[in-house]
């Protein structure tokens, strides 16, 4: 079961991650509810991006934001903090 994981000789010393931001753990499946952004209503204030305790919200090239569903644990902080209430928590 564990064979797909690296041995202790292969894991970087002290578990250092030399490529930060790259997901080692996919924590998206811990989630019960997921945030869904209504991009029509979004004012691109980045409050959600700022408040997200993980880097699970990315800023896109067009100036908007998107959720990284592979990582987002569904804590709901973004939905609670959004000043225009454009983030809804839905099952999944």
């Amino acid at each position: 079961m564990m064979s797909k994981f690296p041995t202790y000789k292969e894991v970087p010393i002290a578990g250092n991650i030399y490529d930060p931001g790259k997901l080692v753990y996919k924590t998206g499946d811990w989630r019960t509810f997921k945030p869904v952004i209504d991009h029509e209503k979004c004012i691109k204030c980045y409050i959600c991006w700022l408040y997200c305790p993980e880097p699970s919200i990315d800023r896109t090239k067009d100036g908007g934001v998107e959720i990284n569903y592979e990582q987002c644990k569904g804590c709901g902080i973004c939905a609670a903090e959004c000043p225009v209430k454009c983030i809804e928590m839905v099952k999944g």
Partner: protein, 392 residues
């Protein structure tokens, strides 16, 4: 070469740290360690060192700042004792598992309650399993020499583990002794300034200390086991190099007249000095006695200890700490575990003494040898643990 100076143990440690070109010292004062960082602060105030001295508000912060500084690649020294070491406890594990080669001087002192500022080994033994290399010293000279060597051992790429250098509170920390100080240039040659590698570098961001679940945690602990196992070979190399310019010979374990000894006493720290002087005296009276003094407690020097005790009939193990509810004191527990699978005909008993700074006098030490000789005659240990010096 070098010069002989009157220094107490704490000052000797401070001078050793100064000569070791330390980049950062983060520390909080606690008796009997205070002189180490107080003296070092004088060097900083006088401009004798390039060190950044971080005055923190607690030992918990001292160790946290030390870990942070070490992760930037700086050479870090700190010091503590007793309650201070206990307050550092959780961060000690971070230092070892994040592989920070910090060197810490510890002036060993009892733990509260009742509050007591004097020597015993309860503080270090309480953090025994924190993953740090642990060295115990007999006098100020050894404390000085081991601090300088400790940086070289800790920073070896095969090791990258923090080290504590332990000296008994007051008995060593506050007693002025002759210390043969090395020349600055010789120490610098042996231990050049640490190359700052900027492990944490804003230009090359990385994540350290990230959460690890059951699928990775064990592998990281195994890396620490492997590093700890490599310590003896690195120590040997460092000791040889140190001897070449200082003339002083160190190792994993020190012994006195152990080769043909039939009865031995083993201890950590300053009491070994008393034990050696009593052994000398008893040798002159025709008793075949010897002393085993492990310089290293972690990693436990199993091979060296087994070699030194293989010809003994009786071994008395002195512990200056209690492991409440355990079969023996901490050192004796390890000795018993070590002997478990060895076919050695050896009677062992444990002497717990010197708690809270109670003197372990020459007479008390002599009584330990005499008890061991008695056991040799009777070929049997009647009392596995002797609480020596307690009023009962």
């Amino acid at each position: 070469m070098g010069k002989i100076v009157g220094l107490n143990g704490d000052e000797a440690v401070a001078y050793a740290a100064k000569q070791s070109s330390v980049d950062v010292v983060a520390a909080y004062p606690i008796t009997p360690q205070t002189i180490m960082v107080e003296k070092f602060n004088e060097f900083v105030a006088d401009g004798d060192v390039h060190t950044e001295f971080v005055c923190v508000e607690s030992e918990h912060s001292a160790m946290s700042a030390s870990v942070g500084a070490s992760l930037t690649g700086a050479r870090v020294f700190t010091a503590s004792a007793s309650q201070g070491l206990a307050l550092m406890h959780e961060i000690l594990y971070l230092a070892s598992s994040m592989r920070c080669p910090i060197v810490m001087g510890i002036a060993n002192r009892a733990l509260s309650a009742p509050i007591n500022i004097f020597a015993d080994h309860s503080d270090m033994m309480g953090s025994r399993d924190c993953g740090w290399i642990q060295v115990y010293t007999e006098d100020a000279q050894e404390a000085y020499d081991w601090i300088i060597q400790a940086f070289k051992i800790a920073e070896d790429p095969d090791i990258l583990l923090p080290i504590t250098v332990n000296l008994d509170g007051f008995t060593i920390s506050h007693s002025t002794q002759d210390v043969n100080m090395l020349d600055d240039k010789d120490v610098k040659k042996f231990l050049p300034e640490k190359k700052i590698e900027y492990l944490l570098d804003p230009e090359k961001p990385m994540t350290v200390g990230a959460g690890n679940n059951p699928d990775y945690y064990y592998e990281l602990k195994m890396q620490q086991v492997e590093a700890m196992n490599k310590v003896p070979q690195v120590v040997k190399r460092v000791n040889d190099e140190f001897k070449n310019f200082s003339g002083r010979k160190y190792g994993i374990v020190d012994t006195y007249e152990i080769k043909d000894a039939e009865v031995g006493v083993m201890a950590l720290g300053s009491v070994t000095g008393t034990a050696i002087s009593i052994a000398e005296e008893m040798r002159m009276a025709g008793n075949k006695v010897g002393v085993i003094k492990p310089w290293f407690y972690r990693p436990f020097p199993s091979n060296e200890i087994l070699t030194s005790l293989k010809n003994l009939d009786v071994l008395a193990v002195i512990d200056r700490a209690i492991s409440f509810g355990a079969p023996f004191g901490p050192l004796c527990n390890d000795i018993m575990a070590l002997l478990q699978n060895e076919e050695i005909d050896l009677e062992v008993f444990n002497v717990i003494t010197g708690l809270g700074g109670r003197d372990i006098t020459p007479n008390m030490t002599r009584s330990i040898f005499e008890k061991a000789l008695e056991v040799q005659k009777e070929k049997k240990v009647k009392k596995p643990i002797i609480y020596l010096g307690v009023r009962s």
